[in-house]
Amino acid sequence: MSDAMTQERPAEPKATANVILDVEDLKIHFPVYGGLIQKQVGAVKAVDGVSFQVFEGETLGLVGESGCGKSTTGLAVLRMLPVTAGRIVFEGVNITHHDQKQMRPIRRRMQMVYQDPFGSLDPRMTVGEIVGEPLVIHKLHGEKKERRERVMSLLEMVGLRHDMIDRYPHQFSGGQRQRISIARALAVEPRLLICDEPVSALDVSIQAQVVNLFQELQERLGISSIFVAHDLAVVRHVSQRIAVMYLGTIVEISSRDELYANPKHPYTQALMAAIPVANPVIEAARAHQIITGEVPSAQRPPPGCRFHPRCVHAMPICSEQTPELKNHGSSKVACHLF
């Protein structure tokens, strides 16, 4: 756990790094039915034209408030939701229209860690069965004894004792359960891990333990991941690059250091300003510019830039023309100011 190690980690992936996941103009719309004969009357545009890449060995943070489409994006990459439009290419294979059977071998290569460690573990299975199940499904370590050994080493890897293998989920605390979920996801040695708010349900002192575990695993296993979260402060600790989402679109994507040192999009700036810093001296000196209003409905998003009704810099063009995600220095921003 040396500090030096973490600080030397490159903030920006090398130009030669392989793209492991390429998402292009992804759209996920959920139909809305209404009227007398329940015909489709509209759509919730949960994700509306999102493009990003994940490089080998890197963690991409997806940040935004509820309803911005960050979790939907994560689920869509795993193909657990029907894709309305766009393209998802994983390890060079276009999986946008794969059916469940085609997806099965691919799911071995990408795994998910869920938010709620109480809902995502079957209470009637032992830890050994939970962590070993993906091995059974994907027919790895077929021998029972061999599988048990593998599960034990996984438990130790995530900081649990190997003799906990025969216990049930209710015997564990929230933080320990989240470790079990992580062990289960890592069992099949995936290339890509999708973590949906994995620490939001945990207490502060436990949250730090799990955040550190993620950092350690990234360094040890070199695994790529997408870390979905609403908390910019947490994301900063585990991600090398960060995409900020608002109402189904990416408004800014940038390396960690650049994003925090120099947030460009007015929404990113507002998000940063809204997070209080745990120091009264800094807090008293900070400008409390608070954005007004709330996130509008994804069924009828505002025209033009979706953030314009809440933006302090809004200009006439903002309500007319949708800004594109364009290069600006080392980051990409979707804002007419740039």
């Binding site: 600080q7 903030a11 509820s66 002192s205 730090a208 300003a273 745990a278 409390h288 709330e294």
Partner: protein
């Protein structure tokens, strides 16, 4: 010096009895002065919410019971008041804002009725006037189009707007004390900031005191004047917000500060988590409850329970190893 508005003395609240009993709040004492914002910080199970519910005598009985201590509010001992008189205080002189605005609002009544009800009940104002007052209150919490929204039902509002309604209800009878239990935990960060700023501004305007219960040390730094840190049912450190952050004395407080990710740190700094798990209140270790997780533990910590000691006049902590007079 004037007397504090609220003085909690040796408050102890227990659930169950006999061997299976759990002391959720254990010998807790603190003051709230008029116009002051006091934050109670702690993780789940630390007893912060039960402390708040005990002040309002809302702990479900059975299984819960206030078994000891005094709660002096404006000269009255709330623990000794009959239920009838307590009802005249709740929502009137002490108001509460809960975490979940959806579960604390009645889904089948209009919000106009729900805000007007305490005004009608406590201030004996006729309904028509109470409705006018409700409209003014909604304006004050910046509800757009307040007049027409009086006849809306809770499900027609977003989470942030519902919390504004809760604040309007809390302010209805101009309470001297507002207790807000994790008022923004269920909300998005940008909306959280709006609600907390509103609460701060309104309490400043009305001169009400505020007890802010939270797990978020950032929120505490921005909004609190004084802080009580709770662990395992006890207050383990209390100081002014400024002092607490500048010089945290209890190892648990220091541990919490080191384990939260902060935007003002250089990126890539490792968090320092507190090892182990939060305590199980049914099986607290002997001595200091924090001793199994503490890095500075000495023999005495495993033997004697530390009570709050003075480090200086206003800064108290319950730790054998930290400096005290």
């Amino acid at each position: 010096m004037t007397k504090p508005l609220l003085q909690v003395r040796n408050l102890t609240t227990r659930f169950g009895h006999g061997l299976g009993s759990v002391t959720a709040v254990n010998n807790v004492s603190f003051d709230v002065n008029a116009g002051e914002t006091v934050a109670i910080v702690g993780e789940s199970g630390s007893g912060k919410s039960i402390t708040a519910l005990s002040i309002l005598r809302l702990v479900p009985e059975p299984p819960g019971k206030i078994v000891g201590g005094e709660i002096l509010f404006d000269g009255l001992d709330l623990t000794k008041l009959p239920e009838e008189e307590m009802r005249a205080i709740r929502g009137n002189r002490i108001a509460m804002i809960f975490q979940e605005p959806m579960t604390s609002l009645n889904p089948s009544l209009t919000i106009g009725l729900q805000i007007a009800e305490p005004i009608n009940l406590h201030m004996k104002m006729p309904w028509q006037k109470a409705y006018d007052k409700a409209k003014q209150l909604l304006d004050r919490v910046r509800m757009p189009d307040a007049k027409s929204r009086l006849s809306s039902h809770p499900h027609q509002f977003s989470g942030g707007m519902r919390q504004r309604i809760m604040i309007a209800m809390a302010l209805a009878c101009q309470p001297k004390l507002i207790i807000a239990d994790e008022p923004t935990t269920a909300l998005d960060v940008t909306v959280q900031a709006q609600i907390l700023e509103l609460l701060k501004e309104l309490t400043r305007e009305t001169g009400s005191s505020l007890i802010l219960i939270t797990h978020d040390l950032g929120v505490v730094a921005r909004y609190a004047d004084r802080v009580c840190v709770m662990y395992g049912g006890k207050i383990i450190e209390t100081a002014s917000a400024h002092d607490l952050y500048a010089r945290p004395l209890h190892p648990y407080t220091r541990g919490l500060m080191a384990s939260i990710p902060r935007l003002d740190q250089p990126p890539g700094v490792r968090l320092v988590p507190i090892k182990g798990q939060p305590p199980n209140l049914a099986q607290l270790p002997p001595g200091c409850s924090f001793n199994p997780r503490c890095g500075e533990v000495i023999d005495r910590c495993r033997r004697d329970v530390p009570e709050l000691m003075h480090a200086d006049e206003k800064h108290l902590h319950a730790c054998w190893t930290s400096p005290h007079v």
